[in-house]
């Protein structure tokens, strides 16, 4: 898909003007019908890399969705009491137990990293290389510290005797679902950190400005890549919002 194609499609889309009429529900629905029935590229004005990232995210939504539904099912069907997350994940601070303290900190760290990522995308499109580099670096540091805290949390629980098949407080499925769901999420964060570091290097050395071909794919560098990576990172944060609500608070 060349640049010329992109400009061609956008001619019929009035979103660039972003007028009130163009954003009305009726106009949006009409435009959607036209997009899907055009016998051409459906996702107009969306770079293909971003459309593919959305397709990947959609598949990941199903994976995490099925994990959480499995968790719901074993929790409903368990005849033994479910361990109280507020007590299990409490931290001792100055002789007092604060419920979910570590989890709360992890939540704030991940939300902060989402914020810095959003800003990195914004400054990327503004061609502000220094700001984008620093924000991407900060995002990866926050992500890495999240993984570190999760490793600490796992260590603590394993020391407490939590196993995928048993735990001291109640339903055995607690450990199985905990390790599976948070482990899968942690793996996503870890891979995200890896890609963030790669993207930081790309931005810092100017590969995106110079449209330098990538090492693995040979794709020309551009700042839409930062947005696609941003989508992945926000999705990881999004999943944590659901895990936080359903696993730790419910």
């Amino acid at each position: 898909m060349t640049r010329q194609d992109t400009t061609h499609w956008s001619d019929e889309g009035t979103m660039t003007g972003d007028t009130l009429a163009a954003r009305s529900p009726e106009a949006s629905i009409k435009r959607m019908m036209a997009d899907w029935s055009s016998d051409q590229r459906v996702f107009k004005q969306v770079p293909w890399g971003k459309a593919m990232m959305w397709a990947f995210i959609l598949s990941d939504i199903f994976i995490f969705g099925c994990f959480l539904i499995a968790y719901m099912t074993v929790r409903i069907t368990s005849t033994e009491p479910w361990p109280n997350a507020a007590e299990v994940f409490a931290l001792q601070v100055g002789g007092e137990y604060v419920p979910l303290l570590l989890i709360a900190i992890m939540t704030f760290v991940l939300i902060s990293s989402s914020g810095t990522m959003a800003l990195a995308v914004k400054y990327g499109y503004e061609r502000n290389r220094l700001a984008t580099t620093l924000l991407l670096l900060l995002t990866s540091l926050l992500g890495a510290s999240f993984v570190g805290m999760q490793a600490f949390e796992w260590t603590k629980l394993i020391e407490d005797g939590v196993r995928p098949w048993a735990n001291p407080w109640g339903a055995a499925q607690f450990g199985a679902t905990f390790f599976m769901i948070t482990g899968f999420h942690g793996a996503h964060v870890s891979f995200g950190v890896l890609f963030l570091i790669i993207m930081t290097v790309k931005v810092a050395r100017g590969s995106l400005d110079k449209e330098r071909p990538g090492f693995l794919t040979g794709r020309k560098g551009n700042y839409e890549m930062v947005e696609s990576l941003g989508l992945y990172w926000h999705f990881v944060d999004l999943v944590w919002v659901f895990i936080f609500a359903f696993f730790y608070l419910w």
Binding site: W54, I61, A104, I111
Partner: protein, 105 residues
Amino acid sequence: MAHEEGQQHPLSTYLWVWLLLFVLSVLSYLVDYVGFEGYLKWFLITLFMLLKAGLIMAVFMHMVWERLAIVLAVLVPPGALLFLMLLMAIEGEYVLSSRLELFFQ
């Protein structure tokens, strides 16, 4: 060519959403800290969760500024998950009741 610059939005929008996400996280943490129980707790947790998820999707992932074609392509399929959740909740209740009946008389 301006549209090729991709998604560009004012800094204040991002900062406001960021702040809101923090506030909503504090609120959902407080639900646990204060010790609400039952339906009130579940309602508040779900409410704050959906608000946070909505803000992240809409603003950070730029969904409000995308064309409906891709917005619906992403948001409609997960409806199948909601249906699966409903089915498994019904099935789960049945499994629990038969376990209680058959194994714990």
